[in-house]
Symmetry: C2
Subunit: 187 residues, 2 copies
């Protein structure tokens, strides 16, 4: 396995900082400090701030697909796989309370900035949507599959947004349970 290059450390740091502080609010100086390199060195690896954003989104796409693939192999039944998706809300609840959903908050920010990377960022959502849709198809709900996928994706986004605003742990548990109950009628 190859040694981790400086470039990877930059993407590591940017990925986290963009999530915790937002894309625009995170300056290159701050990233460089975090990685303990100079700004000049930073520009050797990425020729603009938008280029790291591209790299971060690309990494998130890879990681998301890897997670979906893992769920695909782990859970035996489609409805159990969907539960894996819902349960991220519980697993990541501390981060979500602090920073919201990494996908939803990024797409919202880029929409306001009218940023050219909007489309790529939205692709992360599409990965989830298409994967969820596929599960519903396998459950026999071919016609409604896309709408059901969007529904569950929306529910999880709402939970993340309010958990972030209200810092409410019980709300997350309640909602996750409600989504599980909702899911039963399609299992």
């Amino acid at each position: 396995m190859a040694k981790k290059a400086t470039r990877d450390f930059i993407v590591d740091a940017a990925d986290q900082l963009f999530y915790q502080q937002g894309f625009e609010h995170t300056s290159l100086s701050y990233i460089a400090d975090e990685v303990k390199i100079s700004k000049g060195n930073f520009y050797h690896h990425f020729k603009s701030k938008d280029k790291i954003l591209d790299a971060v989104i690309h990494r998130r796409l890879i990681n998301t697909q890897a997670m979906l693939d893992k769920w695909q192999n782990e859970g035996k039944k489609p409805d159990e796989r969907i539960k894996s998706f819902i349960n991220i809300l519980l697993i990541n609840q501390n981060k979500i309370k602090k920073f919201g959903c990494p996908v939803g908050t990024l797409t919202s920010e880029l929409a306001k900035l009218n940023h050219s990377a909007q489309k790529e960022a939205n692709e992360i959502f599409s990965l989830f949507k298409n994967w969820l849709s596929e599960q519903f198809k396998q459950l026999g709900h071919t016609e409604q599959a896309d709408a059901l996928a969007m529904h569950i994706l929306g529910r999880s986004q709402g939970v993340a947004t309010l958990a972030n605003a209200f810092q409410d742990q019980e709300f997350i548990s309640n909602e996750v349970e409600k989504i599980h109950e909702w899911l039963m009628q399609y299992s």
Copy 2:
């Protein structure tokens, strides 16, 4: 009725721009240009950028309360009032597709900035939550009222976030209908 003062025009512009472009991304110069005043004049009315944010949040609190009061007087039954809330998703669908929910996107941004106005901004959410909770109480669901209020608030947030990312009009209609159906069991 008093003449509209420059101060009001500044808050008008800031309110819209913070919604459309985000708080941090909206510079004072841009606001000043929009209102057609100088930056110096701007600082005569607001001594810092955070002070306009305060004013904008305050105005949104006032406007939100006024809207809730209006619904309280218009709709005869509590479940019809709740429907008024849900229907904002349809009424404002064009803006929501472009910029998301003004409340959710602001609280998310301020959370990432760790901004001191977070608490005040979240109060807008609380107005909705408490109002919705009151409606469910009047429908006889005293015990669950808060949880039901948070549920419906979360659903609407999820719809706004995904409508913004996917630019999907049909999704909004579908989800609004689903929320109406869900509401029936509590009516």
